[in-house]
């Protein structure tokens, strides 16, 4: 088991290194002139060169990569300030939004999938599947704008932005986050429900479920003890892989609802060619995604005796 975890960690480190290379070179592809973009179009060429030299962008690419990694996350061009504090507070705000979304969507998706599986082939199942599948493909800005029109503008029940006035209490903050969270929940619901459905159908058709029925266990007990325990395990992994979609969705939702999270920060950095900020944001997003999938992978194998024992061989 320890060997399995070490192997997964090792692979994750390699992936992380590759990711840092990809992100760094994506940043290098940007045909931008940092000195020029900081000083503006009217600055003298000599001043631009001097600043480029000071920033180190005129050095060989490998030196720059080394400097980037050792001085991570570095300085933002746009803010003229260290990236670290800006990034952490944005990340914190995004985590709040993401956590809120997960708290709502995980139970909802699992219930939807299990209900679907228990009624497999019936209209209830078809409805949940088709509705889930459809919500999955509606972009967040579309559902977001409809929600804004209906609940914030026409009915006036909820605020149009996501940022609560500073110093607001927990529930006021939640109220501001309700509208932004719904588009994220809609997209994730389809995936989670589908995976929970697949897992449950598989478990229902298994030999151990049939044995449980044949030995006369009540249906409720059979489902709770034998089916759900086995079917919900794969769902954990799926939920983890959805973190990527969730972060993609955060970019859109944060722009639409003007919420200062890592999504909006990434978007602004990209459109304003603030390369160090962009690279830091993107690498952070990748790292968050990798940590979540790694934790899910390891907890999945800890919970699943089949993998645990095979790994021990």
């Amino acid at each position: 088991m320890v060997r399995f975890i070490l192997k997964r960690l090792g692979l994750a480190l390699i992936t992380l290194w590759l990711l840092s290379v990809i992100v760094f070179f994506l940043g290098q592809v940007l045909p931008s002139d940092p000195g020029r973009s900081v000083l503006g179009p009217l600055a003298a060429p000599s001043a631009v060169h001097a600043l480029d030299h000071q920033l180190g962008v005129d050095k060989p690419i490998l030196t720059q990569y080394w400097h980037w990694i050792t001085h991570f996350p570095g300085q933002s061009y746009q803010y003229q300030a260290p990236i670290g504090p800006i990034l952490t507070s944005a990340l914190g705000r995004s985590l709040k939004l993401a956590l809120f979304a997960f708290v709502i969507v995980v139970p909802l998706g699992i219930i939807g999938g299990v209900v679907s599986a228990l009624n497999a082939g019936k209209p209830t199942d078809r409805t949940i599947s088709v509705v889930g599948q459809s919500m999955l493909t509606v972009p967040e800005f579309v559902s977001g704008i409809v929600l804004l029109v209906v609940f914030a503008v026409e009915l006036g029940w909820l605020p149009v932005t996501a940022t609560a006035p500073s110093g607001s209490g927990f529930f006021t903050q939640l109220k501001y986050l309700i509208l932004p969270v719904i588009p994220l929940v809609m997209v994730l619901f389809g995936y989670i429900a589908r995976m929970a459905r697949v897992g449950t159908v598989e478990a229902l058709e298994s030999d151990y479920a049939r044995t449980a029925i044949l030995k006369g266990l009540p249906r409720g007990v059979m489902i709770r003890r034998h089916v759900l325990r086995n079917s919900l395990l794969p769902t954990i992994t799926v939920i983890a892989t959805q973190t990527g979609y969730l972060i993609g969705g955060l970019v859109v939702v944060e722009v639409l609802f003007r919420y200062n999270g890592i999504g909006l920060l990434t978007y602004n950095a990209a459109t304003q060619h603030d390369i160090p900020m962009l690279e830091a944001c993107v690498l952070t997003i990748g790292v968050v995604y990798m940590i979540v999938t790694l934790v899910a992978d390891i907890s999945f194998s800890l919970l699943n005796p089949r993998i645990r024992l095979r790994a021990a061989e």
Binding site: L11, I14, T15, L16, L18, L19, I22, V23, L26, G27, V29, L30, P31, S129, V130, Q133, S134, L136, T137, V138, P139, E140, F141, V142, S143, I145, V146, L148, V149, A152, V153, E154, V160, G244, Y245, I247, G248, G249, V251, V252, V255, L256, T266, Y267, A270, T271, H273, L278, V282, I285, G286, Y289, M290
Partner: protein
């Protein structure tokens, strides 16, 4: 291996069998209400995309500064925007760009992804490990985030969008194709081809490819819906289709600032247009998946 009588079919019979299956799938699709609803909605949008300018009552570009922000009425079914342009005409013609860009991007991703997946699945070993690591590192970044970086860098023409989305989809599709190829390569017909002394490219493209066609088709329809999702999202972030093109996502971006002032019609109809298009594709992909997988 056990010795059993395997009926040897000639190539003609095999091809006939395949087209028989195809006809079967098609018949099943025509009996599926989900497919018909999806196909009808999609067809309406395709007609709008092709004949949009002829159908639309006004020019989608014609500004009328004396009639800005007008609520829906009989003269302007969906109202007018901040420049007095007819929203109904803009919604109709707005289907054009996305219905050209998204299928092309998906096609590019499917072709590239199929090739990469065939190589990874067929050669396994080192090729698979190395490419697989890169794919995994790449997948740690959400498509929207990579898209934002690439498009803000490379410019925002429609060709760039197609290439960027196509390349971003390649690893996703490669992963599916690889899994299908891994199952196929263990089958007897591949071993037979190898014993005949066929070259690897021949085995990959002539022998294996036709047999993994079903999962590739399913993947294409699923990815098409996601391509529309991604391209419209990037356009909403002003990184996709550029003004003054009538485009649903672009219009929503341009007008959502005036929604709090009560001009809901300037975004709502565009939003509904996007929703109907993506839902129609997912209905189609759902029923294709059902028909192919039985």
């Amino acid at each position: 291996m056990s010795i059993v009588d395997i009926p040897v079919e000639d190539a003609g019979a095999l091809a006939a069998g395949r087209s028989e299956i195809r006809r079967e799938v098609f018949r099943e699709l025509l009996h599926s209400p989900t497919f018909i609803v999806g196909a009808v909605i999609l067809l309406i949008w395709i007609i709008c995309a092709i004949f949009g300018s002829a159908i639309a009552p006004h020019s989608p570009y014609a500004q009328n500064l004396e009639g800005i922000n007008k609520a829906p009425s009989s003269a302007h079914l969906f109202g007018t925007d901040q420049l007095g342009r007819d929203m109904f005409s803009r919604v109709i013609v707005g289907s054009r760009d996305i219905l050209i860009i998204a299928p092309l991007a998906t096609l590019l991703g499917t072709v590239l992804g199929t090739m990469v997946g065939l190589f990874m699945g067929y050669f396994r070993g080192l090729v698979d490990d190395v490419v697989g690591r890169f794919v995994e590192a790449f997948l740690a970044l959400p498509v929207v985030v990579t898209g934002v970086i690439a498009l803000s860098t490379l410019g925002r023409t429609n060709l760039v969008i197609i290439v960027v989305i196509g390349i971003l989809f390649t690893p996703l599709i490669a992963r599916t194709v690889r899994a299908a190829v891994l199952l196929e390569r263990e089958l007897d017909y591949v071993a037979a081809a190898r014993l005949r002394g066929e070259h690897a490219p021949y085995i990959m493209f002539v022998e294996i490819l036709p047999n993994v066609f079903a999962p590739i088709m399913v993947e294409f329809t699923v990815r098409l819906a996601y391509a529309i999702f991604a391209i419209l999202t990037l356009t909403f972030l002003t990184l996709g289709v550029q003004p003054p093109s009538p485009d649903w996502a672009l219009d929503i971006n341009a007008n959502y600032g005036v929604v709090p002032a009560g001009y809901w019609w300037e975004v709502l109809f565009d939003a509904l247009a996007v929703a109907t298009l993506v839902v129609s594709i997912s209905l189609i992909s759902d029923s294709v998946q059902g028909a192919l997988e039985g």
